[in-house]
């Protein structure tokens, strides 16, 4: 039976997605490698995985890619799994390519689908921020590594696998070349968009900082908060506390109005709880239209002021 190793950063939904993707490849023996998990976390993983290997962390330590790569490289080289799976998260970006290079394995990054054809691993991944999809293939005879986009796979169903739980013995290595100094939260702003019921999110399509005014004005008419995508924060047009996405805030409003937002997975990763999603965008091929409930293909500079006017008129 083929062995698959899932590298688990934290015991959450992404771990179940790795499990589900692995099981979809046929009869496999599935191991979770996890770092510094509590007993309860290991027990939870053991319901989905056939084996759980817990790599201990020193007190106070957190998951760190440099440490994980040092601990995992000799272990994986000895175990020789058919496939190594990780989530394509920020930590995954820090760890997975390093691991693939050290183990000299082919790597499929940021996969939306995963399949097996003889000894070849197939995947679907995105190009150009989701405007194009590509079916790619890697020869997996000597093993392979793949990272999976969070949320792209279903989570595995809970059937109790009764996985064996072990603690890995990590031999002391050379001193770490990278050392954690501190963990910092994104700067706290005066607004908390995570509590808003209605969000008006603005993206690159707004073009100029001065144009933000029409969005702010619409938000005021809706009693909504203004949210934004990463490029708006990168330009310092709005504070980081308003950024929605995997590197920003996770929000779960009732209504989400996306204005000039292309809909990258990094942005949509922060939109939780299936809000009523309205997208206004010039580009009919923007990925946002694939996930929106309602879409308007048109010029936001005409539509947004008009929408504000109608809303104010209705409210009286």
């Amino acid at each position: 039976m083929r062995t698959i190793m899932a590298i688990v950063e934290v015991v959450d939904e992404t771990a179940l997605e790795l499990a589900h993707a692995a099981r979809s490849l046929g009869e496999v023996h599935l191991t979770a490698a996890v770092f510094g998990a509590e007993d309860a976390g290991c027990a939870e993983l053991a319901r989905y995985f056939d084996r759980v290997v817990n790599f201990p962390l020193s007190p106070g330590a957190v998951f760190d890619a440099e440490h994980a790569a040092a601990a995992l490289t000799p272990w994986l080289a000895a175990e020789q799994p058919f496939l190594i799976l990780l989530s394509h998260t920020n930590n995954g970006l820090d760890l997975a390519p390093l691991l693939a290079a050290r183990l000299d394995l082919p790597m499929l990054a940021d996969c939306l689908e995963l399949g097996l054809r003889d000894e070849q691993l197939t995947a679907v991944r995105t190009l150009y921020a989701g405007k194009v999809h590509a079916r790619v293939v890697a020869d997996a005879k000597g093993g392979a590594l793949a990272t999976l986009r969070p949320g792209a796979f279903d989570g595995d169903e809970a059937i109790d696998r009764g996985g064996r739980i072990e603690t890995a013995a990590v031999p002391p290595g050379p001193p770490a070349r990278r050392r954690l100094l501190e963990t910092v939260a994104a700067e706290a702003g005066s607004v908390d968009i995570t509590q808003a019921e209605i969000l008006v999110a603005v993206g690159r399509g707004i073009e100029e900082q001065e144009n933000l005014e029409i969005v702010q004005s619409l938000a005021a008419a809706l009693d909504a908060e203004v949210a934004c995508t990463r490029p708006i924060v990168d330009k310092n047009w709005l504070p980081k506390s308003r950024q929605v996405g995997t590197s920003g805030q996770s929000v779960s409003p009732k209504v989400y109005l996306a204005i000039g937002v292309s809909g990258s997975f990094q942005h949509l990763g922060g939109v939780k709880g299936k809000p009523f999603l309205v997208a206004i965008n010039q580009d009919a091929a923007a990925p946002i239209f694939a996930v929106a409930d309602v879409g308007v293909v048109g010029d936001l500079f005409d539509l947004v002021p008009l929408l504000e006017e109608k809303i104010r008129a209705r409210k009286g």
């Binding site: 390519p97 050392r179 997208a279 694939a290």
Partner: protein, 268 residues
């Protein structure tokens, strides 16, 4: 403080219609606007700023066809001192691994404290090249840097950098990393300087070192599509799925319907 910054010329497709070529192996590129990968622009700026503070030499490096030289000229105009163009017809069809191997071969033997890359590219977007380089060159890696400062460092003989980088849940971590190191740069780390046409003209005469596969000591089987570990089978347009209900009509009609819908969904 010697820095090598790896950059890539990519197509900006945000305004372009996507047309897949018959056979699914490429895109119709006529309408594409080309330029430096967005993340790499921040990486070049970070490299130049560090040089301005600490002195040293910044080398911009790219792998690609003849047209790709334009991003090297742009990097020179931003303040890079040297440019290296890995250019060989045999590089065509290289995957991220092949690109990293060629870059690693070009980097070996040079003296540097920092190897900077954009964290991801706007085209393939796998975010792999920086990590591959760290693995191939046996260097420590910090991915997704949002702040980068260096202490000492004098041409690969030690020193440390202090790097703030993105991890999960909107958190960032500050790490100290021994130099030389690979750091991949996230957008927003700085404000990249404006590059004028005049600035580009000024560096028109600057020398760009061109290296082919043989000069890098690479075998034909390692290059381009021959050496690719990940092969493209087919490009296709993303399935629309259920997709959005697209409102049609005049702006007036569309907006009126939107207001009704927002009302029904509790947005008013």
């Amino acid at each position: 403080m010697n820095i090598i910054v790896c950059i890539k010329r990519v197509a900006d497709t945000s305004e372009a219609e996507i047309v897949i070529q018959r056979g699914g192996q490429g895109l119709e590129e006529e309408d594409f606007a080309w330029g430096i990968n967005e993340w790499d622009n921040f990486a070049v700026e970070a490299a130049v700023q560090l040089k301005e503070q600490h002195g040293g030499v910044v080398t911009a490096m790219t792998l690609g066809g003849e047209d790709d030289e334009e991003v090297l000229r742009r990097a020179l105009a931003m303040g890079c001192d040297e440019a290296v163009h890995l250019c060989d017809e045999a590089f065509a069809g290289a995957d991220a691994w092949g690109i990293a191997k060629a870059l690693a071969a070009a980097v070996r033997g040079r003296s540097y404290d920092l190897l900077l890359c954009g964290a991801v590219s706007g085209d393939a977007g796998g975010g792999q090249v920086g990590g591959f380089l760290a693995g191939l060159l046996d260097l420590p890696l910090v991915a997704l840097a949002t702040c980068l400062e260096v202490g000492s460092g004098n041409g690969g003989t030690g020193g440390v950098a202090r790097v703030r980088h993105e991890v999960e849940s909107g958190l960032e971590r500050v790490v100290e990393v021994d130099l030389p190191a690979v750091v991949t740069v996230q957008t927003g780390i700085n404000e990249p300087r404006y590059v004028s046409i005049r600035g580009i003209r000024k560096v028109a005469g600057a020398e760009v070192q061109v290296l082919d596969g043989a000069a890098l000591g690479l075998q034909a089987a390692e290059l381009g599509s021959a050496g690719a570990r990940v092969r493209l089978e087919e490009l296709f347009l993303p399935p629309r799925g259920e997709g959005a209900e697209v409102l049609e009509g005049s702006d007036e009609e569309i907006v009126q319907r939107l207001v009704e819908m927002l009302h029904q969904r509790g947005g008013l």
